[in-house]
């Protein structure tokens, strides 16, 4: 009952934040709305017993990536209301098509399986027992470093590529 209340609260916050982010004229306001949406998402993750993901969502998205966005907004001298860049009927048609395709995909994915199936068929009791015996981080850590070893190692290569890319991009225009 209380969980339902919080789910609705976070859902409204997340969707409201996302819509406000798109509609806001000022890029900095957009960014803050997005942070609100991330907060709400973290709350939803907690309700799903995905404690570690909730924390990572906050640390990486709200705490790191959004800071970079803020830097970019400041770097590009934005901050005053900008003109709408989505002009012309063609652009609008493309935008509506992409959004429609996304919603169709979402609909198919959600109708394909019920919620219990998506959670691997585990009940609340099993989840609680796992969390209690291994801890919120241990539950994630175990599969991450045993079953998904290769994706984990590839992540390091991805991060390496990100470092190289960032430096190459930033250095190009420097004398």
């Amino acid at each position: 009952m209380i969980a339902d209340f919080f789910f609705v609260l976070f859902a409204v916050m997340a969707i409201g934040g996302a819509i406000s982010m798109v509609l806001a004229r000022n890029p900095v306001a957009s960014l803050l709305y997005l942070v609100v949406a991330f907060f709400a998402l973290s709350g939803t993750f907690v309700l799903l017993d995905a404690h570690f993901i909730a924390a990572v969502n906050l640390i990486v998205y709200a705490g790191a990536i959004m800071v970079l966005f803020l830097f970019v907004i400041m770097l590009l001298n934005l901050g005053r209301s900008e003109k709408v860049d989505l002009r012309g009927p063609l652009n609008r048609i493309v935008a509506i098509t992409v959004a429609g395709a996304f919603f169709a995909l979402l609909f198919v994915a959600l109708s394909a399986g019920s919620q219990t199936e998506m959670a691997g068929g585990m009940g609340q009791a099993t989840v609680d027992a796992m969390l209690q015996s291994r801890g919120a981080v241990g539950v994630v850590a175990d599969p991450m470093f045993r079953s998904y070893l290769v994706p984990f190692e590839i992540t390091s290569l991805l991060l390496l590529a990100a470092i190289v890319g960032a430096i190459v991009l930033a250095r190009r225009r420097a004398p």
């Binding site: 570690f52 470093f145 992540t155 430096i167």
Partner: protein, 118 residues
């Protein structure tokens, strides 16, 4: 498990109320005698020169990007640290590879002068 977050919710509420109360209190109690000069940005007493929104060094941008990468690295360290004694030698080696690859990244950034400030 989830009931622990009740405390977080209450604390967030208390924190927000405190901030709001401070703002409201000073808004109500403070004097208002705005003048043109008072509302100018402070620039050591002279009239402001030029625009504030100057472009600034790309360095800050690189730092923010490197920060994201190493922040994610740290996020991977934490679950590993929690269970690495169960993983044994296997866990040790897999993390060494991970750290080595990112060490190469850091060395590259260093070599390219991305960490230089002058």
């Amino acid at each position: 498990m989830k009931q622990a977050y009740v405390g977080v919710a209450i604390l967030f509420l208390v924190g927000l109320l405190t901030s709001g109360m401070f703002l409201l209190l000073s808004h109500l109690a403070s004097a208002y005698r705005p003048t043109k000069v008072k509302a100018m940005p402070y620039e050591s007493g002279i009239n402001p020169l030029g625009d504030t929104r100057e472009r600034y060094s790309v360095k800050f941008y690189i730092v923010a990007m490197l920060f994201i990468v190493f922040d994610i690295e740290t996020i991977f360290f934490i679950p590993w640290a929690v269970i690495f004694r169960d993983l044994g030698l296997f866990g040790l080696i897999e993390m060494f590879i991970f750290i080595f690859v990112l060490g190469v990244g850091l060395a590259y950034a260093w070599k390219k002068g991305a960490l230089e400030w002058d």
